[in-house]
């Protein structure tokens, strides 16, 4: 089974074009950021992207429209990445319903502990600090795949792939139902990181670096995603 490549993009006017380019470059799934003014899980690159998006007027409704437009252009699964403050204001269930209508599959909420709002179906995140008990609970309740946060920290490129990933992935494999896909994200920025992460996990999520590259336009992003794709496809070979 080939390993999956997930690209994070921040909602914005150019994002449908960028999503198309990412998919052409070989992305299997697009994670779509809904900007929030005070994003605790994010490092400087995504924070700045959120500030720009908010200044552009990308509020929840506009982001849902952006999602629907991307849905019209690409076939890959789309996953909103949305802070609980936005759900609190919009309504948790209403958001899930409207995101589905706009074309999303599952949703990701980075600042909601996995046992909070358990009525909300979503992709769960686990971190190197997570206990076995919480990894098991996350694996049992997650919607489709499990997000392995490779670092103890916020989003953003790191020089090297986190050494914590291997241990976390091994624990998750042991605790999760057989066959549950494990995708690794946070801190992965180069094709070398992506290849190394893909040796360990079933998929690789690239965010901050993709956002930086996307500032150069669709062609740059397509080329960058292709390079990640090639690295991942070469993993295990």
């Amino acid at each position: 089974m080939s390993k999956k490549l997930i690209i994070f993009l921040m909602s914005g006017r150019q994002t449908p074009d960028l999503a198309e380019a990412a998919v052409e470059g070989g992305a299997d799934l697009i994670e779509l950021g809904f900007p929030f003014s005070d994003p605790l899980a994010d490092g400087p690159v995504i924070r700045r992207a959120a500030e720009v998006a908010l200044a552009e007027g990308m509020r929840t409704k506009a982001c849902l429209e952006c999602l629907a437009e991307i849905r019209g252009r690409v076939q890959t699964p789309l996953v909103p990445f949305v802070y609980s403050a936005l759900l609190e204001a919009y309504g948790y269930q209403r958001f899930v319903a409207d995101a589905h209508t706009a074309g999303a599959g599952a949703i990701l909420v980075p600042d909601l502990p996995l046992d909070a709002h358990s009525e909300l179906e979503r992709i769960q995140l686990v971190a190197p600090t997570s206990t076995d008990e919480r990894i098991r609970l996350a694996a049992e309740t997650t919607d489709g795949w499990l997000y392995l946060v490779t670092v103890t920290g916020t989003t953003g490129a790191r020089r090297e792939l986190s050494s914590a990933l291997a241990g976390l992935a091994a624990r998750a494999r042991q605790l999760a139902p057989p066959g549950l896909p494990l995708y690794a994200g946070f801190g992965i920025s180069t094709p070398e990181h992506a290849r190394a992460a893909a040796e360990i996990a079933d998929g690789v999520i690239v965010g901050s670096r993709a956002i930086e590259v996307a500032e150069g336009g669709s062609d740059d992003l397509r080329r960058y995603v292709s390079s990640l794709r090639a690295a991942i496809d070469a993993s295990g070979s």
């Binding site: 929030f36 003014s37 005070d38 605790l40 899980a41 490092g43 924070r47 500030e51 908010l54 509020r59 929840t60 802070y83 609980s84 403050a85 936005l86 759900l87 609190e88 204001a89 919009y90 980075p110 600042d111 909601l112 502990p113 996995l114 046992d115 909070a116 709002h117 358990s118 769960q124 995140l125 686990v126 971190a127 190197p128 600090t129 997570s130 206990t131 919480r134 996350a138 946060v149 103890t152 920290g153 916020t154």
Partner: protein, 400 residues
């Protein structure tokens, strides 16, 4: 004293109907406010903190160590001063937290949390600061116990509160300027939490107010409750009965929640919290999530956090502790507002009439004490105003 258990509080409204297994967000709730809205990375640390806090509360040696520090290092009990000329037609008592070591109530919390952090084996402390008083208190206790200390502070606040920046640096703390967003307490808090997420295994986050994810609002309240306990005993001794009203300023709300804690069960005592008019989450906020908790927040209809505006850096915060939100809803506390100009007038008046220079934060409480109906009052003078001289004098001169 610290170990005293309180009964289920009467103002706590019944929460949602009982379910089989309580969901995580129902822990640490004040009538639906509070909870834990943080990345999963932090959950084990919050569990560890909560367990450590419960164990400390059950351990007499914790209370003994803390009470010794509060008395012989901090200078507790702080006096109660009856004002003479500030408002001759009323009897206004000031609880003198300005006389506590480092010049504000913040030390009560910093001492308690540093003792707790040492029990948890943490070697590094991070904190946020607005006015700089919490940063100074944190830098002080870190110096006292030889722990590494990093304080996040918005560059706008660093400008407004220069003396406190210098004080923190002299005490050996690293002050990290925060240059994003509003460049004030809101961003400094976010950065401190991000640092904690990154260094959670070695680091204790010494939060400065009764905000943040559970169990922080409870920890800070209980550590500040010494203000209310002492005040209640002192005023009973001086007056023979309780005051008609208690007044305290509210930013995040730690001095006020500590003061109110002593009087919540005295139904005959009116409680007033005073917010800065431009940072009034309890009067013009809506339910939103900020810094790990659900509370009343200055936010727009999409849940995006709005900017607060106050001359006083310590009140310049768009959120408020979840217990205050519950106390507003229950009606037990009345929350009023005060403009920058009113606070400045009270600042000048207390200085000229009593020879006490109050913090601009506390001046908000003083301003409303002058015009509420009650006349036997207890006001929390949460800090001294030396740090505010430049800012206050510049404004007073521009008015003249």
């Amino acid at each position: 004293m610290i170990g005293r258990k309180r009964e289920e509080r009467s103002y706590r409204l019944p929460s949602s109907p009982a379910k089989k297994t309580p969901p995580a967000e129902s822990r640490g709730l004040y009538s639906g406010y509070g909870g834990r809205y943080v990345p999963e990375t932090l959950i084990p640390a919050l569990d560890e903190l909560e367990a450590g806090w419960r164990a400390a509360r059950a351990d007499e040696s914790f209370a003994r160590e803390l009470n010794e520090l509060l008395a012989n290092y901090g200078g507790r009990p702080t006096p109660l001063t009856l004002t003479e000329r500030f408002c001759p037609q009323k009897r206004i008592y000031l609880k003198r937290e300005d006389l506590l070591h480092t010049g504000a109530h913040k030390l009560n919390n910093a001492l308690g949390q540093i003792v707790l952090a040492r029990r948890l084996g943490k070697k590094r402390i991070v904190a946020e600061t607005g006015a700089g008083q919490h940063g100074v208190a944190t830098a002080t206790v870190c110096a006292r116990f030889g722990l590494d200390c990093v304080v996040y502070m918005g560059v706008e606040d660093m400008r407004r509160q220069r003396p406190n920046v210098e004080r923190m640096q002299l005490l050996g703390a690293e002050v990290r300027p925060v240059e994003i967003g509003t460049r004030t307490l809101k961003e400094a808090t976010s950065e401190a939490i991000r640092d904690w997420i990154t260094n959670v295994e070695t680091t204790h986050y010494l939060i400065g107010s009764c905000v943040g994810p559970h169990p922080y609002p409870e920890i800070v309240r209980e550590l500040q409750a010494v203000i209310g306990r002492e005040s209640r005993e002192q005023i009973l001794e001086r007056e023979g009965h309780l005051p008609e009203a208690v007044v305290a300023c509210v930013g995040g709300g730690s001095n006020s929640i500590g003061m109110f804690a002593g009087f919540l069960e005295d139904a005959e005592v009116k409680l007033y919290g005073v917010e800065a008019a431009g940072a009034s989450s309890l009067n013009s906020g809506r339910i939103a999530v900020l810094h790990g908790a659900r509370s009343l927040v200055l936010a727009d209809e999409d849940g995006q956090i709005a900017d607060a505006h106050s001359i006083s850096a310590g009140l310049d915060y768009p959120g408020v502790g979840p217990e205050h939100a519950a106390l507003r809803d229950s009606g037990r506390v009345t929350y009023l507002t005060c403009t920058d100009d009113e606070a400045l007038a009270a600042f000048e008046r207390l200085t000229k009439m009593e020879g006490i220079i109050p913090a601009l934060e506390s001046a908000h409480a003083l301003a409303r004490a002058l015009d509420i109906d009650e006349s036997l009052l207890l006001v929390c003078l949460s800090g001294r105003g030396d740090k505010d001289l430049d800012e206050a004098l510049a404004h007073l001169r521009s008015q003249a």
